[in-house]
Amino acid sequence: MSDLGRISREPLVHFLLLGVALFAVYGYVHRGRGGVESSRQIALTLDDLRQLDMYFQSQWQRPPTAGEFNSLIEDKIQEEVLYREGLAMGLDKDDTIVRRRMAQKVRFLAEDVAAAREPTTAELKAWYYSGKTSERFALPGRITFRHVYFSPDTRGPRAHDDAADALVKVAGEPEDSRAAPLQADRFMFQGYYADRSSEQLAKDFGPRFAQAILKVKPGSWQGPIESGYGWHLVYVESIIPGRIPAFEEAESDVKTAWLANQKAQAWHKAYQDMRARYTVLLPGPPDEKTVRASAPTPRKEVPTSSGEGPL
C-alpha cells in the first residue's frame, strides 16, 4: 500500500487525473456542438434569413421572390456544408490565404480597439507643435507668372536664339507688354499661371522648367527658359515661399494624421505584447562546407498560380 500512497502523492498523477476530469467536463459542456451528430445539423436562425433578405434587397432594390429566396438559402447552406467539409478535411491548415486572413483579422481588432478615441483640440495642437510634426504639413511654395512661347515646331533649332533676341526687345517692358506676344508663337495652353506649386509646373511644363523658374527674379521679363515644349520668356509676378501653416489652418488634416498615428502606435504595442509571449527558434549559421556540398543550385523564385483573381 505504501507504493499506492507514494503514487497518490506524485504530482504527475495529479495532473493526469485533473486532465481526465477536464476532458470529461469539456465533453459534457460541448455535447451536441462538437460531436459527430451535431456536425450534420445546420441551423439557420431567423436573423440569418433576415440577413439574406437584406443582402438581396441591397443589390436589387426589391424583396426576393419565393424562388429567389429559396436559392439564396440553398447557397447559404452550400457554403456552410462546404465550409464544414473543408474543416473536417483540415483544408484550413497550412493554407496561405486562410493564415493571412486570420492574421489580418487579429491586426484589425488590435487597431480598432486602439483608435476608437476622439482627440481634443488641445491634444491635437500640442501634438502638432511637438518635435518636427508640423513640418509634415508644410505648404509648397507658389508662383504666379506670365510667359511667351517659342516653338521648335515652327522655328526648329532657332527657337532658343529667337527667344533670346526677343528678350532684348521686351526687357524693361511691363508684364502686360504687347511687344512680348508679338515676337512669340501661340502657346497651346495658358499665357498666365496663378499660384502654381512646382509640382504642378513639373507636370505642365516638365521638371526642368519648374526648377528654373523658381530662380527667376520677379518683376521683369527673363529667360529664355526651356520646357518640355520649347523655349519661354517669363515674367514672374510673385513667388510665395513654402511655409508651415498655423495649427488652425491644418486642423482637419492634423486630426487624420493623429488618428493614423494612434492606430500605428496601438498596433505596434499590441504586437509587441503578443510577440513577447513567443519564443522563436531560428536555425544556426550554416557550416560553409556543408552548404557548398549540398545546397541545390539557387532557383528563381516562381510565383505560384493563384488560379483566380483579377490578375
Partner: protein
C-alpha cells in the same frame, strides 16, 4: 473570369453619396448580362453608374460577341440596349497589353503590331488553351457594331476610349523609364522581370508594359462633371504619357478653325466632340478638326491618324489616314501613307532625343471617300516618335542584351473616342435595296450545296470570285488535302472583316486548313471558325460568309480575268501615272 476569360468590368459611380450598400462581384455572377441588370437596378435607385470593359484582349473572344451572349442566347435589341446603357467605355490599353486591334484583324495597319497580350489569366500552366483573337478587340467591335446597326437595327458597341493601369500594387508605372512591374514580388525587381519570370506560371513578364491612362474633357474638375464626360464618351486613352488629343466632327470646319485664338469654342459650336454622332448631313463630306500636344516629359509626336470604319451589305471595313505629321516627310503619292519617322533611339545606351517630331500637331481633315448612305465611325490615333521600351532600358541597366521576345522600341500613343456617322433613314434605304441577302437569294430559288456537291465543286480546284461589295476579284485554291489560300489580293485592298493577312499569305504561299462539313466550307482565322455557304441560282454560284450578317456577297466567276490589273487607257499609253485614273479604289 469564367474559364479564365477576362470579362471583368470597372464600375464608376457618379456620386459618392449615391452608392449601394454592397458592390456586385463575380461571386454574385460571372455573366456580364447580370451585371448590367444590377446596374439598371442601381440606376433606378438613383445610384448612377457606368462600366468600362477591362482587358478585352484577354477575353478569349468573349468581350465582343456578335451572335450569342454569355448564356448562349441570341443577341437582340434588348441585349444591345442594356449593354449600350451601361458599358460606355473600353479600356484600350493597360499593363497587359492593348485592346485596340491585332495585326491579324487589321493587316493594313502598320501600327497594329503593338503591345499584344495573348494569354489567358490564371490558366493551368499545363493547359493547352490559347486566347482567341476574334471578339477580343475594340476596333472590330466598333465595326461589328455599325454593321449590326445597319443589318439588325441596334448597335451594342458604341464605345468610347479609356486607359487603365491594372496595377496590383498601390502605385502604378506609367513610363518606360520607370517600369517597376504591377504584380508585387512576381515582377518587382529588374532581375525578376528581365529573367522572364512567369507570372501565374504562364506569362513572361517581359511582355508586360506600363499602364495606360484615361483623359477626360470635362467642364470642371469635379466628380460629377468628369463622370458625365465619361458617360458621353468625351474621353481618350493614352498608353502612359500625358498626350492630349481633341477631336471634333462637323460639316463645315475649315482650315482656319484651328488658328483662332479660342478655337475650342469654335470647334464646339461648329460640330460635335469625340464620343458623339455627327449632326445631320449638311454638305458633301464630314470635316474633322483634330489637335494633339505631346507630354512635356516624354517623346515628341510623330503623326496623327484618323481611323475610319464603315459598313456595307454586312461587310465592314477600315482605313487609316495619316492626317498630320511632323517634319517634311512627303505622303506617298498613291497611298497617302507617310513614311516612318527617323528613330533617334540608341539601343546601346537605351536613350532617345527629341530632335525629331513635333510638340503640337493639328489639322482639319475632310473624308475623301465619304458615302452618305453608309454607317461609319472615325477616331484619331496619335503616335509619339520611337522611344526605348522598358525592357531595352532595363537590359542596359543590367548589362545584358535587349530581349528578343519584344520589340526594342515603342511608339507611345493616344486614342480619341470615335465620332459616328449614322445615315438618315432615306439615305440608308438607298443602299439597303442593293445588296444580295441570303433570304432574297433563297426566295429567288437559290439552293444550298451539300457536302458532296461542295466537294465536287471545290476540292483540288481553284475558283475565281468577286466580292460584289468592293468589286475585288480574287482566286481561291482548295488543295485536295484540305488546304486553302486566296490569291491576287493586293496589300492595300479594301478587305472585309476577319479575312486575315491574305496578301502576305498569297505572296509567301502560306495555306490555311479548310474542312467541308454540314454544307459549309469552314476555315479558321487563328482559332475562330468562319463558314462559307455556297448557293446555286441558275448557273451561278454565290457564297455567303458566316460573319456577314445574312448577305451572300461573293459570286463565283465562270472564268478568271486575263490580267489581274488591266491598265486603263492613260496608263497604257505611258502617260504620267497621275493622269491615269483607275476605275476602282
Amino acid at each position: 473570369m469564367p474559364d479564365n476569360r477576362n470579362l471583368h468590368r470597372n464600375i464608376f459611380f457618379r456620386d459618392c453619396a449615391q452608392v449601394p450598400a454592397m458592390p456586385y462581384s463575380a461571386l454574385d455572377s460571372a455573366h456580364p448580362e447580370d451585371l448590367w441588370n444590377w446596374m439598371d437596378t442601381q440606376r433606378k435607385a438613383g445610384h448612377e453608374l457606368l462600366a468600362i470593359s477591362h482587358n478585352a484582349n484577354l477575353s478569349d473572344g468573349w468581350m465582343y460577341p456578335i451572335d450569342v451572349d454569355s448564356f448562349g442566347r441570341p443577341i437582340d435589341a434588348a441585349w444591345a440596349a442594356s449593354r449600350d446603357r451601361n458599358e460606355r467605355l473600353v479600356e484600350i490599353k493597360q499593363i497587359k497589353g492593348q485592346s485596340e486591334t491585332h495585326p491579324l484583324l487589321s493587316p493594313n495597319d502598320e501600327f497594329a503590331n503593338y503591345e499584344i497580350g495573348n494569354y489567358l489569366l490564371g490558366l493551368d500552366p499545363e493547359s493547352g488553351r490559347v486566347d482567341r483573337i476574334s471578339g477580343s478587340y475594340a476596333r472590330q467591335a466598333l465595326k461589328d457594331g455599325i454593321t449590326m446597326q445597319d443589318t439588325r437595327g441596334y448597335n451594342p458597341y458604341k464605345l468610347g476610349m479609356a486607359g487603365g493601369s491594372d496595377s496590383h500594387n498601390t502605385g502604378s508605372p506609367y513610363r518606360q523609364d520607370n517600369f517597376y512591374g504591377g504584380h508585387a514580388a512576381a515582377d518587382g525587381t529588374a532581375q525578376t522581370r528581365m529573367s522572364g519570370a512567369l507570372l501565374g506560371n504562364t506569362i513572361d513578364v517581359r511582355l508586360l508594359n506600363p499602364g495606360g491612362l484615361t483623359g477626360v474633357w470635362a467642364e470642371e474638375n469635379t466628380r460629377a462633371s468628369i463622370w458625365d464626360a465619361m458617360y458621353r464618351k468625351e474621353t481618350f486613352g493614352v498608353s502612359g504619357p500625358h498626350i492630349k488629343v481633341r477631336f471634333f466632327g462637323g460639316w463645315g470646319y475649315d482650315g482656319k478653325v484651328l488658328t483662332q485664338a479660342n478655337w475650342i469654342r469654335a470647334a464646339y459650336s461648329g460640330g460635335v466632340p469625340m464620343g458623339a454622332d455627327l449632326p445631320p448631313v449638311k454638305g458633301k463630306a464630314p470635316t474633322f478638326a483634330v489637335w494633339a500636344v505631346k507630354d512635356p516629359t516624354s517623346g515628341n509626336l510623330d503623326r496623327i491618324q484618323i481611323i475610319k470604319g464603315w459598313t456595307k451589305h454586312g461587310q465592314s471595313f477600315e482605313k487609316i489616314y495619316d492626317v498630320a505629321w511632323a517634319g517634311h516627310r512627303q505622303a506617298d503619292k498613291w497611298t497617302g501613307e507617310v513614311p516612318p519617322i527617323e528613330s533617334t533611339v540608341n539601343l546601346e545606351t537605351a536613350t532617345y532625343t527629341n530632335t525629331v517630331g513635333a510638340v503640337e500637331l493639328k489639322t482639319v481633315w475632310t473624308d475623301p471617300d465619304f458615302d452618305p448612305s453608309l454607317h461609319a465611325f472615325y477616331y484619331a490615333r496619335v503616335l509619339e516618335i520611337p522611344t526605348p521600351r522598358w525592357t531595352t532600358i532595363q537590359a542596359h541597366q543590367l548589362g545584358i542584351a535587349p530581349p528578343d521576345v519584344v520589340p526594342p522600341t515603342v511608339q507611345e500613343r493616344a486614342w480619341s473616342s470615335p465620332i459616328w456617322y449614322v445615315p438618315a433613314a432615306a439615305e440608308a434605304r438607298k443602299v439597303a435595296s442593293q445588296g444580295l441577302t441570303v433570304a432574297a437569294l433563297t426566295q429567288k430559288g437559290g439552293t444550298t450545296l451539300d457536302d458532296a456537291q461542295l466537294k465536287k465543286l471545290l476540292v483540288g480546284k481553284a475558283l475565281w470570285m468577286r466580292n460584289s461589295v468592293t468589286g475585288e476579284l480574287f482566286k481561291v485554291s482548295y488543295t485536295s488535302d484540305g488546304q486553302t489560300v486566296v490569291w491576287n489580293v493586293g496589300r492595300r485592298a479594301t478587305l472585309p472583316s476577319a479575312t486575315g493577312n491574305v496578301a502576305q499569305d498569297a505572296y509567301l504561299g502560306v495555306t490555311t486548313p479548310y474542312t467541308i462539313e454540314k454544307g459549309k466550307v469552314v476555315t479558321t482565322l487563328s482559332q475562330t471558325p468562319y463558314a462559307d455557304t455556297f448557293y446555286k441560282l441558275g448557273d451561278t454560284y454565290y457564297v455567303a460568309r458566316s460573319n456577314e450578317f445574312g448577305y451572300a456577297n461573293y459570286e463565283v466567276l465562270p472564268k478568271g480575268p486575263a490580267a489581274v490589273h488591266p491598265l486603263e487607257e492613260g496608263e497604257a499609253r505611258g502617260k504620267s501615272q497621275s493622269e491615269g485614273k483607275r476605275a476602282q479604289k
